[in-house]
């Protein structure tokens, strides 16, 4: 049973700085590689100056939205402007299929996350930090709790409190307002925005929400200096390094820190050793399962937001999942759609209804009971979901499905012509069971089949 490969693939080492195979879970070990020095430095500075440095570095959110981290912090009102506590919430609900980097941060360099949190707390003058970690992450929770406890014992928290709040199995809680609802002890259904969390977040108070990797990068930003950081990667917009999540049909999958701007091909072939067994790459789940799939002709696209964006892709949470020719793309689209149907919170109509409808349509294609007009209908249903939902989950279901139908239309048509899947049982994804078909929460009698 192999361990996950986690390493710095291309210099500089920022998020994983100091990590060379042994997890830096011990406070002293972390201190030995310069840990908490940036916190000490930041605390000696004016909070506004700290925010300014993050703004200058142009660090952007690593959770998927790529929003400028420093600017987000600058939206938080200062305590003299508001008579409520100011909160920091760290999004450690890593659940995007293909994403496994935050988990490795919490396992390998948990103290750096704590340090980042405390720097952010100083910058926005917050005294309370909640780290919302997905419920399935047990070892990660223990590792992180250990780091927090050590920091507390060493007096590093000072007047700041950190509470690690465990989720309970709901992808949607990675959406920031759903996370807040869940943290407040409710069903994790996203809120309508505005108000934005910076003004009214958790407990109706100003709240800064950041992804684990974003926060963990802050000490690195301060360490190299904002100007220097802004030169790394693919400036001006995609600065710095990030932890790419390489998985699927690839020789050496793993979490690789590398600067923005390396190409997809370099990540897969150069760092990842290419597709194994003489197979050929068919598609890439780029950014996560929530985004359009990448076709082989785009493999030379640099992994930065602008280059990807120009071709209709998203960098997302740094996911690159390789799919080789042995997999049926309809099965892929179906399994992705099933995931979103399962994870739709049920609050808004287009997502709740549309995700189920997409599953029904794709299943009909896969079974060969669909007709050409169903492909058009599938695209239209996607179109009717995109941009009309309360949060981005609906779009996340519709974008990959629509991209599959559009980019692999011939394969879809083959299903129609063939009266079923041309791969038969040979596709790697054949018959893949989805949790949505499991009667997990059906104490109320109902028809669950789709």
């Amino acid at each position: 049973m192999a361990e996950t490969t986690v390493r710095v693939a291309e210099q500089p080492a920022l998020v994983l700085a100091g990590y060379v195979g042994e997890p830096l879970r011990d406070l002293e070990a972390y201190r030995a590689v310069g840990g908490y020095a940036q916190l000490e430095k930041a605390r000696s500075e004016d909070p506004a100056a700290v925010i300014q440095q993050v703004i200058e570095s142009n660090l952007r959110g690593r959770g998927g939205a790529f929003f400028p981290t420093g600017r987000k912090a600058s939206f938080i009102p200062t305590p003299d402007k508001i008579a409520r506590p100011i909160y920091i919430t760290v999004n450690a609900d890593e659940s995007e299929p293909g994403t496994f980097k935050d988990r490795e941060i919490m396992l390998k360099v948990p103290h750096r996350l704590v340090e980042g949190c405390l720097i952010a707390a100083h910058a926005i003058r917050s005294k309370q930090i909640y780290i919302y970690i997905r419920g399935e992450y047990l070892e990660e929770y223990e590792s992180l709790q250990g780091a927090v406890d050590q920091a507390r014992a060493a007096g590093i928290l000072d007047t700041v409190d950190i509470v690690i709040h465990r989720g309970a199995g709901a992808y949607i809680c990675g959406e920031e307002t759903a996370l807040l609802e869940s943290l407040e002890g409710k069903r994790g259904q996203p809120r309508s925005k505005p108000p934005f969390p910076a003004i009214s977040g958790v407990y109706a108070s100003p709240t800064l929400i950041n992804n684990v990797e974003s926060i963990t990068t802050i000490p690195a930003v301060l360490a190299v200096g904002p100007a220097e950081y802004a030169q790394i990667g693919a400036p001006p917009d995609s600065t710095g390094t990030r932890l790419f999540c390489l998985s699927g049909n690839v020789e050496k999958p793993g979490v690789y820190e590398a600067p923005h701007g390396i190409t997809v091909r370099h990540l897969i072939d150069g760092i990842g050793g290419g597709v194994p067994g003489g197979h050929t790459l068919k598609a890439v789940m780029m950014g996560g399962s929530s985004f359009p799939v990448m076709t082989p002709d785009d493999l030379d696209t640099p992994l930065d937001a602008d280059s990807l964006g120009a071709k209709g892709y998203f960098i997302g949470s740094g996911v690159v999942t390789v799919i080789d020719e042995r997999s049926c793309i309809v099965q892929f689209a179906l399994r992705v759609a099933q995931f979103y149907m399962h994870e739709s919170c049920g609050k808004c109509t287009p997502c709740r209804v549309g995700t189920r409808w997409l599953v029904q349509l794709l299943r009909a294609v896969e079974n060969g009971t669909a007709a050409e007009r169903d492909l058009e209908l599938t695209l239209d249903v996607c179109d009717r979901i995109i941009g009309k939902c309360l949060c981005v989950l609906g779009d996340s279901a519709a974008m990959p499905v629509a991209s599959c139908v559009t980019k692999f239309r011939d394969e879809f048509r083959e299903h129609l012509a063939h009266g079923g899947c041309p791969f038969g049982a040979d596709s790697q994804l054949a018959g893949l069971f989805a949790p949505v078909d499991q009667h997990a929460h059906t104490t109320v009698p109902q028809e669950a089949s789709v």
Partner: protein, 155 residues
Amino acid sequence: MTTFYDEVQAIRARYPERSRSAVLPALRLAQEKHGWLSRQALEEVAGALDLTPAYCYSVASFYDMFQLEPAGRHTIEVCTNVCCGLVNAQAVLEAFERELGVGPGETTADGEVTLRAVECLGGCSTPTIVAVDHVYRQSVTPEDAPAIVAELADG
């Protein structure tokens, strides 16, 4: 001995007054105690938090990790999302089905093991990820299934 009620009050103290933030931790605690969130378990949680059982049920039913039906003493959770699926997750799931004689979502007749398929567990580079009693096993193959099941039977 601290009672469930007291434990919940201690959790409550971590969060602002009058917030409901202790609901998830309290439900987890109750599930650990009862094995699943029975009617009685939900009523206990509600009582300890001054909420209605309906509210607690509503919240619990939203999250996959809460069991609203009797569950086994052990759980085997197989990731069947895309990344693991590309590297044979379905075969791993089927191996466990054969080994346990139950389908996904079901519990063995002796009430020992619940088998479930789950969405991405975030271990995509070491497929297939199988969480055995919530502890991840990485790079699990169909051939590993008998040993894992045997391990639970011994434990």
